[in-house]
């Protein structure tokens, strides 16, 4: 089996995470914010898997399953919230949904 070195795997995970974070900070559409979040989650999951492969332990893959479960639950809740927000404000711009001031 062809081993991927740890450094490359982690680098890929870090790049993906930074991409997701950049999308999260740059985008205004809430759907895209959600998608950026998914990217970040998957980056974290990739780091788990890579680390698990390095020490040939199943823990990393188990952790990824948890992350996937959590991500799907989060998407379900997040999409429902976005739908409600859209009904209420008729926009998906995250910046214009800021009436909840401290």
């Amino acid at each position: 089996m062809n081993h991927v070195p740890l450094e490359q795997g982690l680098l890929l995970a870090g790049m993906l995470f930074v991409l997701g974070l950049a999308g999260l900070l740059a985008r205004r559409n809430m759907i895209f914010l959600l998608m950026s979040l998914e990217i970040m989650l998957n980056a974290a999951g990739l780091a788990f898997v890579v680390a698990g492969a390095k020490w040939s332990a199943p823990d990393g893959q188990v952790m990824f399953l948890f992350v996937l479960t959590m991500a799907s639950a989060e998407v379900a809740v997040g999409l429902a919230l976005i739908l409600q927000l859209y009904h209420h404000f008729h926009t998906l711009n995250a910046d214009s949904v800021s009436t909840m001031r401290g």
């Binding site: 974070l21 900070l25 809430m30 995250a94 910046d95 001031r101 401290g102």
Partner: protein
């Protein structure tokens, strides 16, 4: 038959229940039938029970019937039963109480006829008779106390019977409070008996007292003294006698029944019942005699100055109970009880006659405003004459036998103690009392029935009930003493023999025939002299008295006597006025004012100073700082989602930087 004894007090009690619950629905006739009927049933039962006692228990020593119905209180050592003890003493009391009560109830049917509180009156009277019978028959102290307080309450209710008059209410309160004062001592005595002898049964307690307490021991003296105070209060002896003259505010039958014949002699009954105890405490017993002697003299002199017929009789009652105390003081229980019996007859009679006379004179009670009534009121005239003769101790009337017996007992006391030289003095007081008694009662007699007629009685003929009660009582006043003849005249000893079955008879040890005869002759002489003096002073030469009273000392003496020797004023000055003063002072709440001055005012003053609130400054500062922090932190929560994400990202970078580089 003997076991029917419980019905004797219970029947009048039922009479009371019926009258108080349904009195408003009954006609006057039915009220009278219930009221007097219950007493007559009780009288008949009492007589039957007494007869059975004498027949069944003759020869037993002591001749007594004891019955217990149920246990009233049973807490470990404290065991109080509802039970009656019938011996010679309680039999005499029971028979006399029911009999006199019956006659007075009959009298009341007519006397109270026009009163609006007809059924209330009979209800109270029935309750009184029931309580009195409980008192007399009780076999333990608690039941005795129940009856004792019951009669006190009825006395209060009946003195204040005409409660619309404020003075009557005050008289009732006075009687109630003064007797209550004495009852406190009585209750303490009962408690002491229980704590020392561990029983409340009267007979058992007496048996144990004789065994446990030595002669003259402090416990016996204390208990006897406490009981004596109780008896003094109830029997209106010096110094607690002031309530009785005021108690005349009640209707006349009440005065006759409660404040002459029965309730006020409860003290005599108590001492007679407890006489073994009093014999253990010679000091107290002597005090009983001294109190009796003083009381009989002082109140006889008071009676001489009174103008209200009922007050004369009230003071006379105090004086006659003084004779009973005198007898008890020398241990002559039988003589005391004998005088109780004859006194119940003639004093009830005198009260009833006075009531009957004033009823016909539009309720006039001042003897100065009466006069010459002997032709208009022949029944009253004759019955009053008999009553007065019996009270004075005219030979062969009831009062003669009883008073003579008492005087002989006092005279023939064996010497031996230091006190005894006093016994002669007591006897002297009794003798002087005989003269005074004859003087004051015949003064009233002459004023009412002789002299110039100043008032015209209304032409109402007395009803049969009223007449019968007067005639029967007159008969007993005349002949009631014939059950006991002194040794000098036939020596009949029915009464003392009967009492002797319960209490060892105290007969003078040696009968010195001549001595006794001389004393009797002396007392008869004094009676006749008293009557004659009354005739001279108040009928023939009224100027003489006026001349004496006209002088300054005479005037003062008369005023003092009229006011009962200033006891009321003394108590007023000693107790009532200070109390009222305290009340008046505390109306303005001095204690409260003190607190205001000492605590509330300084506090208010400090609050005034602290108006600028230097303490609060500190808290204000806290508030300002808090508010500034809040305003600063508030900016972070601006609702911009991406801003939050940025902060979170920055935070994560900072944290990671710290982990890596530090």
């Amino acid at each position: 038959m003997l076991s029917w004894i419980w019905l004797v007090p219970v029947v009048p009690f039922f009479g009371f229940l019926i009258l108080s619950l349904f009195g408003g629905f009954l006609s006057r006739r039915m009220v009278a039938v219930t009221g007097a009927g219950s007493i007559s049933v009780s009288t008949v039962l009492g007589g039957l029970v007494a007869a059975r006692l004498i027949m069944e228990k003759a020869g037993e020593v002591p001749m007594a019937f004891h019955q217990v119905w149920w246990t009233w209180v049973g807490i470990s050592r404290l065991r109080v039963q509802i039970g009656f003890h019938l011996d010679a003493v309680s039999t005499v009391m029971m028979v006399v109480v029911t009999f006199v009560a019956l006659l007075i109830h009959l009298y009341s049917i007519d006397y109270m006829e026009e009163d609006e509180g007809y059924s209330r009156f009979f209800a109270y009277m029935n309750l009184f008779v029931a309580s009195m019978l409980v008192l007399v028959l009780a076999d333990n102290f608690l039941l005795l106390l129940l009856g004792w307080e019951g009669v006190g309450m009825c006395s209060y209710l009946l003195i204040g019977f005409w409660y619309r008059e404020p003075a009557n209410g005050l008289a009732a309160q006075k009687a109630f409070l003064m007797t209550r004062l004495a009852d406190t001592a009585f209750i303490l005595g009962i408690l002491m008996i229980f704590s020392h002898l561990e029983t409340l049964q009267i007979q058992e307690a007496l048996r144990r007292a004789v065994v446990t307490w030595p002669h003259g021991s402090s416990a016996a003296v204390t208990v006897a003294a406490l009981f004596l105070i109780g008896a003094i209060g109830k029997s209106a002896q010096i110094p607690l006698q002031t309530w009785l003259p005021d108690a005349m505010a009640g209707p006349t039958p009440v005065s006759a029944l409660i404040h002459a014949a029965t309730m006020v002699t409860a003290g005599v009954y108590l001492i007679a019942r407890m006489h073994e105890l009093f014999e253990l405490a010679p000091v107290v017993q002597m005090t009983v005699g001294i109190i009796g002697g003083l009381t009989l003299l002082l109140s006889a002199m008071s009676a001489l100055a009174q103008q209200d017929a009922k007050r004369i009789l009230a003071y006379s009652t105090i004086s006659q109970i003084g004779y009973m105390f005198l007898a008890l003081g020398v241990g002559a229980v039988s003589a005391a009880l004998f005088h109780f019996m004859t006194h119940a007859f003639f004093k009830a009679l005198l009260f009833l006659v006075v009531g009957a006379v004033s009823m016909r004179l539009n309720h006039e009670r001042n003897i100065m405003k009466m006069g010459g009534l002997r032709h208009d009121l022949p029944l009253a005239f004759w019955t009053f004459l008999i009553g007065a003769a019996a009270l004075a101790g005219f030979p062969l009337t009831a009062g003669f036998f009883s008073k003579d017996w008492i005087l002989w007992e006092v005279w023939s006391q064996e010497s031996g103690s230091v006190w005894l030289s006093g016994s002669i003095w007591l006897w002297g007081m009794g003798m002087l009392g005989v003269f005074l008694t004859a003087l004051y009662i015949f003064r009233a007699f002459f004023f009412i029935f002789y002299g110039d007629q100043t008032t015209q009685p209304d032409r109402k003929t007395p009803s049969w009930a009223l007449s019968i009660s007067l005639i029967v009582l007159a008969g007993f006043s005349l002949m009631g003493g014939w059950v006991e003849w002194p040794a000098t005249f036939g020596n009949v000893a029915l009464f003392s023999g009967f009492i002797g079955t319960a209490i060892p008879v105290h007969r003078a040890s040696a009968h010195v025939f001549i001595e006794e005869l001389l004393i009797q002759a002396l007392s008869v002489g004094l009676v006749l002299f008293g009557i004659f003096s009354a005739y001279l002073l108040f009928l023939r030469h009224p100027g003489l008295v006026e001349a004496v009273v006209g002088t300054t000392p005479g005037k003062e003496l008369r005023r003092a006597a009229l006011r009962g020797w200033g006891f009321t004023r003394l108590y007023n000055w000693l107790i009532v006025q200070p109390f009222l003063k305290t009340v008046r002072v505390s109306k303005h709440d001095p204690v409260d004012r003190l607190y205001t001055r000492l605590m509330v005012n300084p506090y208010l003053w400090m609050a005034q100073i602290n108006k600028d609130d230097f303490l609060n400054r500190f808290y204000d500062l806290l508030v300002t700082v808090n508010r500034a922090c809040y305003l600063a932190v508030r900016r972070v929560q601006n609702g911009h989602l991406r801003w939050y994400a940025r902060i979170m990202g920055a935070g994560a970078v900072v944290m990671m930087g710290m982990v890596i580089f530090l």
